[in-house]
């Protein structure tokens, strides 16, 4: 495999998704003249930031053979804490960002530690910690509260060249860094090795437990990035900000060609799948199709994608 192909883990499914994205885009453009406008294109980008980030975190975890269902609680807790610590004061903003990123990584490390050192199934561990974090978030503040420096909100709402929100750059940077990490670093190789076959990885000298710990810690860190963006976008910290993201974060990963069993896939597919799903939602809105039908479409996409990959994997 060439370095480039390995970096992005290019798969035929990526072409399929790009084709679908183009199709959906053309359908939208034909049906509404307001669809292919700069305003709408920047709106779409705004809408995909949070999903793109949590799906990125989920991709890394799934590649390692695990799963992280803690975003529901974690996003709520992190946004509430960030908004209450940062407040409207620009002076403490940087410190608050560093603090919340550290906290995210630490919470993730707790998940990772429990998973790596107790042997309890990742699904059970993250389900439990999610419930705890959601409870703590609601205990801290029962309703959306806190605030953030105005300059940050301005930044989140600003657009480069009139149609590229800074959120997009934030997302691309995160995907680039993580993609590079998976491609070029020893840590990345270890993630694939652990996801592919844990025992084989251990025998060949991969520190499996440490790798898992770091994977979940990284997942928490990326969730904190999403939380910071959410606070900038909404201007407050919402203890329920994460509701639904536990399961929503998984769909793009799977549709993007990463195998739930671990060890195969990559971040490019996830990003493309996020774009496809958000675009689909946007176009259906323009077509006046109720978002109820979007659920049906999403579920069918998952089934088609998964049975396709399952059939290929068994060959």
């Amino acid at each position: 495999m060439s370095d480039f192909a390995r970096a992005i883990r290019f798969q035929p499914v990526h072409l399929v998704i790009v084709g679908l994205i183009l199709t959906v885009f053309v359908v939208g453009a034909v049906h509404s003249e307001r669809f292919a406008t700069l305003t709408n294109v920047s709106n779409i980008q705004d809408q995909l930031v949070v999903l793109a980030l949590v799906a990125l975190a989920q991709t890394v975890v799934i590649l390692s053979g695990g799963i992280d269902l803690s975003f529901a609680g974690m996003l709520g807790l992190l946004t509430v804490l960030f908004a209450s610590v940062a407040g409207g004061d620009p002076a403490v903003f940087a410190a608050a960002v560093v603090g919340i990123l550290t906290l995210g990584a630490l919470l993730g490390a707790i998940n990772g530690g429990l998973i790596a050192f107790t042997g309890i199934h990742p699904l059970i561990v993250t389900l439990a910690t999610s419930s705890i974090m959601a409870g703590v978030a609601l205990l801290h503040s029962n309703q959306p509260s806190g605030s953030v420096a105005l300059f940050f909100e301005d930044l989140v709402y600003a657009r480069l060249f009139g149609f590229v929100p800074y959120g997009t750059i934030y997302v691309l940077a995160a995907y680039f860094v993580i993609g590079f990490m998976l491609w070029r670093t020893q840590f990345g190789t270890r993630i694939y090795a652990v996801g592919d076959d844990e025992r084989a990885a251990a025998i060949s000298g991969v520190p499996v437990r440490l790798t898992k710990l770091m994977v979940y810690s990284l997942s928490g860190l990326i969730a904190a990035m999403a939380a910071i963006y959410m606070v900038g976008r909404f201007g407050v910290g919402d203890p329920r900000a994460g509701v639904g993201f536990d399961l929503r974060s998984i769909t793009p990963v799977i549709v993007g060609g990463t195998i739930l069993a671990g060890g195969r896939g990559g971040v490019l597919g996830t990003l493309l799948a996020v774009i496809l799903l958000i675009l689909l939602r946007n176009v259906l809105n323009f077509l006046n199709v109720s978002s109820f039908y979007l659920w049906i479409v999403e579920g069918l996409i998952v089934i088609v994608a998964v049975s396709l990959f399952a059939a290929r994997a068994s060959k």
């Binding site: 419930s131 705890i132 109820f292 049906i296 068994s314």
Partner: protein
């Protein structure tokens, strides 16, 4: 012969471990009830205790199916969606009691069959198969109701969920019958042995010539039917049909199954354990309110309990 002897031997230790777990769960329940009883005189009244039992009944139905799927190395994320859809469909299509049950249960069985087909024949991971049917069903339900469910609950059905005969809640009698049948099936029948063998070692089950695919489908169908029943009893208890009836039950039922001794690695789980765990969860929710803690503590307690239980069982199964 050696293999058989090994299996018999391990069955004996499994029995021992299982009864230890049941003892542990019962002990835990007694302790939290006693402590709360001392803290609050309102808790240990027959009225409150029977309220807790009735509240726990819907989760009791759901967790029986969930536990069975988990025994089979699966997971059913679609149960909450089945609960709500069964409730919405049956209350809007029929106004007589028989119809309510038939429509809801058929729906549950149908969704379970789809889940089972995807898992057994299309080799889709249970997690993803049931995640997909959950979302699709949610879409169908909202499209069908236009976002606002109508219809009314038949009185007879209200009676099944909240009524009493000779002081005993009807829902508990029905749950007891269903639970007894499930317990007997899993512990005493050939079918139950086959479920356990598959969960323990799918490859061995296949080589023994068991109809493994059909077993998987059957487990999911049972889970779907139990979820539908749970949904019908839940709306019967609450008295209002809602598109989000049963929200959170997918995770609560998994939590209860795990606390009750089921392992996501398969081959392990019991009806009694699952029901005790459901009762513990609902008791704790009730206790949080009675003791005057803010309701968010429920979530914290639930999380801690799941971790504790999973950790304890893992340790005991290694020892």
């Amino acid at each position: 012969m050696n293999g058989l002897a090994l299996r018999l031997g391990s069955t004996a230790t499994v029995r021992g471990r299982k009864s230890r777990e049941l003892l542990l769960l019962t002990g835990f329940l007694v302790v939290i009830w006693t402590v709360t009883g001392i803290l609050s005189p309102r808790f240990l009244t027959p009225q409150n205790l029977s309220d807790i039992l009735v509240q726990a009944a819907p989760l009791g139905f759901v967790v029986i199916g969930q536990m069975l799927v988990i025994v089979m190395r699966g997971l059913d994320l679609s149960v909450a969606s089945v609960m709500a859809t069964a409730a919405v469909l049956s209350t809007s299509t029929f106004d007589n009691t028989g119809g309510v049950f038939v429509v809801g249960i058929l729906l549950g069985a149908g969704v379970g069959a789809v889940n089972g087909y995807l898992v057994a024949y299309r080799k889709v991971t249970p997690f993803l198969a049931t995640l997909a049917t959950m979302i699709i069903l949610q879409g169908i339900r909202f499209a069908y109701t236009g976002g606002a469910p109508g219809g009314s609950l038949p009185d007879a059905f209200r009676f099944l969920a909240t009524g009493r005969i000779a002081g005993i809640p009807v829902s508990l009698m029905i749950l007891a019958v269903v639970a007894f049948a499930a317990h007997w099936m899993l512990e005493r029948s050939v079918l139950g042995r086959q479920f356990m063998l598959y969960g323990d070692n799918p490859a061995a089950a296949r080589m023994t010539g068991l109809p493994v695919n059909r077993l998987v489908v059957l487990a999911f169908v049972i889970s779907g039917v139990m979820a539908a029943l749970g949904g019908l009893f839940l709306v019967g208890y609450v008295g209002i049909v809602d598109n989000w009836t049963g929200r959170g039950y997918e995770l609560d039922s998994i939590a209860a199954a795990v606390i009750g001794g089921a392992s996501l690695r398969g081959g392990k789980g019991s009806v009694l354990g699952a029901l005790l765990a459901a009762l513990i969860l609902v008791s704790l929710f009730n206790i949080v309110v009675i003791v005057g803690l803010s309701i968010e503590f429920q979530m914290v307690i639930k999380g801690v309990l799941i971790l504790l239980a999973a950790g304890v069982y893992l340790r005991s199964s290694r020892a």
